[in-house]
Symmetry: C2
Subunit: 321 residues, 2 copies
């Protein structure tokens, strides 16, 4: 059942003993919304804990420093930024059928929760949550503000992407009034990288190949590359965007070898080209500007296959090129 | 003479035939303020042109597409984002003594203009200008809004740096109401890079050396490096930040050989270390988190000299290390 801001605020005010569920492979938005809601509820004298099937990454440590899980028997199960009960992961799967409220911004939300507050146009679950807390008249301290800010900043690429809303900006301005240390947070979120990640980025820059009148790049990372250079496939997460950095490039492809002869393809568009349509030709899918597919075979054959799929979108006849 | 917003608005309204001066080596903020003010004045039926000693970079082309310089004899000289008459550059130096109004955000503004509107706490000259235009009740169309947004976004590293103000966010939200295409602008400003720039970044990642318990990195770029790898020193602008990307690094140093045996040193801090104090030891200066100096001699001697200057700030005794 879809409910509105006021109903959500009233529901939260009327309940106690909250388990707040975040999605597996937790990111800044689900954690920011989880801990932000937790601290706001605690400041109202309620009991609340934040749960996740996976460990919380250390880079978000400032969110859960001094958090301290509380001991109580849960009465109210809330999920934040969780579009589908499946995304709760193995440990939290047991709660999937008992979620009383879901606060989210995914248009794809499956409606598994009894009550649903979903604003699909919001940049982040934290943007939605801020409006809930404002409606509740909740106390927002510095730590809560930093959680909410981080969710909005990370989901918008620091206000860079097209999903950035006017509200993302105005809410961030309001959160800054609570003393958010944006310099330190943004440095940790966007500028700090592990040595292995920097090695992976260097590899991508080094092995990038230009095709189709330089409008397309392909970068392949094989198991042998990772082995010899010393980085894992984890370090490649979020690096596909590098493939469309060169000026003039419209489509960028990152090919990662997952197991011998099996390749995960990430495709990015920096133009009007719809890469989800291209990936669909190969049994994949995704969004207009970011999509993917999985292909098996010889790397060079896969490149040619992909180029033949991409070329028409760039108005290029591969056989005449 | 310092004047306030209202006086600035009245001054601009009462005058006509504007030459708007931008600083040499123009960036997004001086150009955004220049063209933003120009379009706003023209929409009020006034004549206005934007001038610069250097050519306007093509990446800001969307600002001056269909700009069309007007023909008139100037009556009012205004400077935007120009902290010092010297920064007008050679071609505009002739106007240095006749600037009737300067709109700026640099605390270091020398006060060369007859009237001065400087908000040193503002993130960008465009932030100050927006307030002027609002005070004037000026018409802000999409193009004007995109100029102002770009100035704020580029001077704050897309709202990432510590100089980002609450107003930077609230003004950006207001500018978005005018249809600013933030996705396309931010891609061009922050994600698009020339091939040469990508080669330069790859070089920095490849040649980065770790010192002082891995709390300091030094990367040197010699004339020979640029020659052999195929990039110019121009491509190194704004790359010093890469030197403090690795986790745990507190001070990063980029050394660029300007001419045989003469090195420009850029130093960055990702901690409490004050790099301007370190650079001052070597006759340089700058800001707490970003400073520089120039050193002559053998590259390896210069590295050792810099390390001996940096080590105490990291609590390291170089001779025991």
């Amino acid at each position: 059942m879809q409910i509105n801001l006021k109903e959500t605020a009233e529901f939260l005010k009327s309940r106690d003993k909250f388990y707040i569920l975040t999605h597996q492979s937790p990111d800044g938005d689900t954690m920011g919304a989880g801990f932000g809601l937790c601290y706001a509820l605690r400041s109202m004298g309620k009991s609340a804990n934040v749960l996740c099937s996976d460990e919380f990454p250390k880079r978000y440590g400032f969110m859960y420093k001094d958090y301290g899980p509380q001991k109580f028997s849960p009465e109210t199960i809330v999920a934040v930024d969780v579009a589908d009960a499946k995304l709760l992961g193995s440990k939290l799967a047991q709660y999937g059928d008992y979620v009383e409220l879901c606060i989210d911004h995914h248009v794809s939300n499956t409606g598994y929760a009894k009550r649903l507050l979903v604003y699909p146009d919001a940049s982040a679950a934290c943007e939605v949550l801020y409006r809930v807390l404002a409606e509740m008249g909740a106390d927002i301290d510095k730590r809560t503000a930093e959680c909410l800010y981080t969710g909005i900043a990370t989901d918008t690429g620091c206000f860079k992407y097209g999903n950035t809303t006017k509200l993302a900006h105005t809410i961030s301005a309001k959160l800054m009034e609570h003393g958010v240390d944006i310099e330190s947070i943004n440095r940790d979120m966007f500028d700090r990288k592990s040595k292995e990640r920097l090695i992976a980025e260097k590899h991508i820059l080094s092995d990038m190949e230009y095709y189709l009148d330089d409008k397309c790049t392909i970068t392949a990372v094989t198991l042998a590359d990772m082995e010899s250079k010393g980085f894992s496939s984890e370090e490649l997460e979020g690096t596909a965007g590098i493939t469309v950095q060169p000026e003039g490039v419209q489509v960028g492809v990152l090919i990662k070898e997952k197991e011998k002869g099996k390749f995960k393809v990430s495709m990015r568009s920096a133009s009007e080209v719809d890469v989800s349509a291209i990936c669909a030709k190969f049994g994949g899918g995704g969004h207009v500007k970011a999509a993917g597919c999985t292909l098996e075979g010889e790397l060079e054959d896969i490149k040619l296959k992909l180029l033949s799929g991409i070329a028409p979108s760039l108005g290029i006849d591969l056989w005449l090129a």
